[in-house]
């Protein structure tokens, strides 16, 4: 398969790119909503990474509908289960974050992190 970009490489690049992008947003953006978006990106990136750990090149999905397929030809199903959980958690956290941010906005009237510094030092 030389010369062809492998899928796992794509997955790895994608995941690390997403994570770094997410973190970059968190580091630089001052808008809280954007920070939450950054978190979402990073989460997604990690999920991709998690999925990629179970990926085995050329194997099929781990579904037992076709009895002809051998178990040894399937990709690892465990990461996919993990990713499901992880997505749920990420969703929950994002929802909670947005809820809290709305309440914070009600109190402070801003989403700018540099202005929300009531607690420092």
């Amino acid at each position: 398969m030389s010369g062809v970009i492998s899928i796992s490489l794509v997955l790895n690049v994608a995941s690390s790119g997403l994570i770094l992008l997410g973190l970059y947003i968190i580091f630089t953006q001052k808008n809280l909503i954007k920070i939450v978006i950054g978190l979402g990106l990073a989460d997604t990136g990690v999920n991709v990474l998690l999925v990629s750990t179970g990926y085995i090149d050329g194997n099929t999905a781990p579904i037992f509908s076709n009895s002809a397929l051998n178990i040894s030809n399937m990709v690892d199903p465990v990461p996919q289960a993990l990713v499901l959980t992880s997505i749920v958690i990420g969703f929950g956290v994002s929802a909670l974050a947005l809820a809290l941010i709305i309440r914070l906005f009600e109190k402070t009237g801003t989403l700018d992190t540099s202005k929300i510094r009531g607690l420092k030092w």
Binding site: I19, L39, P79, L96, K107, L119
Partner: protein, 486 residues
């Protein structure tokens, strides 16, 4: 034979029960929570004699460990579940009067979820479950930090949430990498399989893991959420967060470093980080005027001390660290809980407004003094013996690095004593403040007093404490837990 899974199931179930019956029972749901934690206390205490003999391995859903999910309870786990349950029930008792207003059932639900998360993190034998419990713990504590519903609470909660999520990203990366390298998520299995992984990769994975977990464990400089969150949360929650949540995260790190990754090379670096954490915490607290921030920074300092003790790469150090965890849980809970009522009575967070408060709140103030004494490490309080053991362990290693570290720790202690004593002097000296300041109610004073009894009379059961802490240390140090599973 009690099943340790009950430690997780009971609070989790009760939490859902509370949220379902909240409509009809209103605020009486707190008694349900109390009963659940009472059961938890009983279970965790009755678990201790068993695990001292042999670690308990609970297999869930009938699938054997490498593939299935299991709970693994050694002495360390049992001791921590006792700490969590006892501190939890006492703080819950305190919350009865402290938490006011409608919709209290939410508070108790979340509180029980927090207990669930902590218990699960300690007890689980599966690395992904660890992540899940971590998230349960984290999400419930995010909400609880903002429970008071004021501006500061929300700000702190948002900060905590964002940083916690960044941490969880790191953890998840570590989990993914672990799975990639070993193909297993079971801790016991991992410990075996990691031996064949290249040490560079192992180190990278561990760094991801430590960084992620370190956010929750409040290791400097990952701890920047802590002063905000601990100082803005309701005092009962601050007590819990400082009391065992950060220690739970820390002990997970320690467990991974010693038994799972078995990377003792990193320990010296970690102990340096511990001392830096200690110094940063103490120095930051020195000029602080907000009493809860002082306590929060002091928690950073204490966690640094615990980290130092536990990374000495000796059984004595681990054992001393365990003792210090007990001491810190009890004494910091006292301080936060007392501070909660003082804030409530005076309406001010600045301790300079508490002049002569001891004349109005004599019992609370006295308990506060006890807490401070134990935290600083004054004989004959428990804190003295744990600090003594830490220093003995540090100097037993006998290298210059540790000696210097010991001097730095003692410098930290000096600074800590100074700022605490300033507060004590304000409590006791001067004319009593005006206004309707009165003693905290019995349901608040009683749990605080229990904590005080622990630190005050701890030295009477010192040999027993030494035995338990020692066996917990032995578990971590000699990896008994891991080898006995298979």
């Amino acid at each position: 034979m009690v099943n340790p899974i009950l430690l997780i199931i009971i609070p989790l179930g009760t939490a859902f029960l509370i949220s379902t019956v909240a409509g009809s029972l209103k605020n009486s749901t707190k008694y349900l929570a109390f009963l659940a934690l009472l059961a938890n206390v009983w279970i965790s205490i009755s678990l201790l004699p068993q695990v001292l003999k042999h670690p308990v391995n609970v297999i869930i859903a009938g699938i054997k460990p490498p593939l299935g999910i299991n709970l693994l309870v050694g002495p360390m786990g049992a001791i921590f579940s006792i700490i969590i349950s006892v501190a939890g029930i006492l703080v819950l008792l305190y919350s009865f009067k402290y938490i006011e207003g409608e919709g209290q059932s939410k508070y108790y639900t979340l509180f029980l979820l927090l207990i669930t998360g902590s218990q699960g993190m300690i007890l689980t034998g599966d690395i992904f479950n660890l992540f899940v419990f971590f998230e349960i713990l984290a999400i419930s504590s995010y909400i609880l930090v903002g429970y008071a519903g004021d501006r500061n609470g929300f700000e702190a909660a948002v900060k905590y949430l964002i940083l916690g999520s960044v941490g969880s990203v790191f953890i998840l990366v570590a989990v993914a990498l672990i799975y990639q390298e070993t193909g297993t998520l079971n801790m016991a299995d991992l410990a075996g399989k990691f031996a064949s992984v290249a040490s560079g990769k192992k180190m990278m994975i561990m760094l991801f893991f430590i960084t992620g977990m370190g956010v929750e464990a409040a290791i400097f400089p990952l701890n920047s959420w802590l002063p905000d969150a601990h100082s803005s949360a309701p005092s009962s929650i601050s007590a819990v967060l400082s009391g065992f949540v950060i220690e739970v995260a820390l002990i997970v790190i320690i467990k991974f470093v010693y038994s799972i990754f078995a990377m003792t090379e990193i320990l010296q670096y970690l102990s340096l980080v511990g001392v830096i954490t200690l110094l940063v915490g103490e120095f930051a607290a020195f000029n602080q005027g907000n009493i809860k921030r002082v306590l929060a920074y002091s928690s950073i300092g204490q966690i640094g001390l615990i980290l130092f003790a536990m990374t000495l790469n000796s059984e004595a150090g681990l054992s001393a660290g365990m003792m210090q965890v007990v001491n810190h849980t009890a004494s910091k809970s006292i301080l936060f809980l007392v501070a909660g009522y003082m804030i409530k009575m005076t309406g001010s967070y600045q301790f300079t407004d508490y002049k002569g408060i001891a004349k109005k709140m004599p019992v609370s103030s006295f308990l506060f003094v006890l807490g401070v004494l134990s935290l600083i490490g004054v004989p004959p309080f428990l804190g003295f013996f744990s600090k003594l053991n830490i220093i003995i362990a540090a100097l037993a290693v006998g290298n210059t690095f540790n000696t210097v570290m010991v001097f730095l720790i003692l410098l930290g202690t000096i600074i800590e004593s100074v700022y605490f004593l300033k507060i004590l002097q304000i409590f006791y000296i001067g004319d009593p403040i005006k206004g309707g300041v009165k003693e905290a109610p019995f349901t608040a004073v009683f749990p605080i007093a229990i904590f005080a009894v622990v630190i005050l009379l701890g030295f009477l059961v010192l040999p027993e404490i030494n035995i338990y802490a020692g066996s917990a240390a032995a578990e971590l140090f000699t990896k008994i837990q891991i080898t006995q599973v298979f």
